[in-house]
């Protein structure tokens, strides 16, 4: 193995995401990347792999297990610290905002870590964006469902067409300076309560 290559462990349970991370790290250099999908016995797995860098999503509760690795005190164990570049805390902040944390072994030079972390940051920013989009879509879908139910209730109770029912919802919302979905929600809740 080339001396410049790093041994990187990626802790990620989702297979697709793990593959995407591995791909982007390969672009950053010919590194030796191992994915740990099952966090069972994480500390022991990391001891076996003995990585130079560990990448893990900030929202992963198993991050706390890495603190144990940071405490390693036996001479054969390699102490690991969260990568914090005091001269350029911007990078660490960017990583935190993107939702990724990197743990590196003691004494590893900043120039060797930077490309890896940069690549990871880009990838995790993409994940974060995808998550926001997914949540927005989900919320929109849920809203859609409530509005459809409210329309149905109005059509049935007042003998309106679909367009008329929607127009009534929209007019009520405008009169009350509320969102159409809020009015729909109130109507559906009231109907549920009244049985």
């Amino acid at each position: 193995m080339n001396e410049a290559n790093l041994r990187i462990a990626v802790v990620e349970a989702d297979r697709d995401r793990a593959l995407m991370i591995v791909d982007s790290l390969r672009d950053a250099g010919a590194h030796d990347v191992t994915v740990i999908g099952d966090a069972t016995g994480l500390a022991r797995r990391l001891e076996d792999i003995s990585p130079d860098v560990v990448l893990i999503e900030i929202s992963n509760p198993n991050r706390d297990v890495l603190e144990e690795v940071a405490l390693a005190s036996a001479p054969t164990e390699r102490p690991v610290a969260m990568f914090v570049d005091k001269s350029d805390s911007q990078m660490t902040r960017a990583a935190i905002e993107a939702g990724v944390s990197a743990y590196v072994v003691d004494g590893l030079r900043k120039e060797r870590i930077k490309p890896v972390l940069d690549a990871a940051i880009v990838r995790f920013q993409l994940f974060a964006r995808m998550r926001v989009e997914l949540e927005t879509t989900k919320a929109a879908l849920a809203e859609r469902k409530v509005i459809d139910r409210a329309k149905g209730l109005l059509m049935k109770a007042r003998g309106l067409s679909e367009e008329e029912a929607y127009a009534l919802l929209r007019k009520t919302a405008m009169d009350q300076s509320r969102k159409v979905s809020d009015v729909a929600h109130a109507l559906v809740t009231a109907a549920d309560l009244l049985g």
Binding site: A39, P61, L66, S73, M82, I96
Partner: protein, 395 residues
Amino acid sequence: MNLHRIDCGFVPLVDCAPLVVARELGFAAEEGIDLHLHPQPSWSAIRDKLLFGELQAAHMLSVLPVVMSMGLGAATDRIDALTVLSVNGDVIGVAPDLADRMHQVGVDRNTDPATGVGRALIAAASGPLRVGVPFPFSMHAELLYYWLSSLGLEAPRDLNVRTVPPSNMAEAIAAGEVDAFCVGEPWGSVAVDKGAAEIVLPGSAIWQFAPEKVLAVRHDWAEAERPMALRLIRAMWRAARWLGEAENRLTVSDLLAQPEYLGRPSELIDRALSGRLVLAKNGRPTRLRNFVEFYDCAATFPWRSQAHWIASRWAARTGADREEAVAVGRAAFRTDLYRAALQDIGVDVPGASEKVEGALSVRTEVASAKGEMFLGPDRFFDGKVFDPAETGTRH
């Protein structure tokens, strides 16, 4: 009035109650604070976000500010504890088969519970005892080491304390990765309800008055934003006083049950708040004394002697310079800010900043600014006393 926004992280546990109460009951707003609470997945996440300014304040393990100032852990900086948020509240649970063996061995009821249960646990264990804790730097780990090493177990030879995120604790014990755990509520009760564990001892049986969580801020923030730090302390103190009123308990359970906080049934949360825990699946609730305390007996006061105790335990474990560790560790508990914040509003505060830990077996009146201060029982199970004046500077 324009409210000043403060972003505060918390881990969804029963002992985040003072933060939730400060926000929901308006104690933060009364101090001009718009308190935004953000749930966090892990203690390392909460620490990092505090260090990098995404959060200005955080619900934090009492041990963490002390050891961070000693330079331990994967990220270090000076973090200050403004006030203690909760005292006690941990439980020790064991796997059902281990509990059965403990019952076969028999728990000696003629001694204190921690000694009786501890001896049975050691006798029933096969091989080194593996115990899960939520974080290496925690009161959970401190209590375990104190308890089991005092009863003769030697770490790491016979005692293997390892980190397991609380949300995985029930699975870890069910999968046989650990034999036992020490964890905060509601996670002990969750494991009991799943039939994965039996609760054998509350943490308070090991140390009757152990500081569990603190409100933490960056040291430079506390210095630069001193008026805001004082306001936070006052808001937390009022929230704690409200929490101390027995008639508010059910409201607290309901508040914490909300999806944005714990998102768990209020009945489950109420077990810890009422101190009536179900110890084994389908068992009857059992009353545990001093299970968790938010207010009474100066529970919120960040005693420097508590920080001293934590620092000297860690110095001994890591071989760090004891005097130096104790000096920086004590400074992390901001008795000075606490006093400045509360004396302004006429609250009685302790006259001293440190005390002998483990000396009181009954509620005792002590010297204070107004002479109305009581301290509660704070004994260690083995009867030892920790006097910071004796242990701190001795070479």
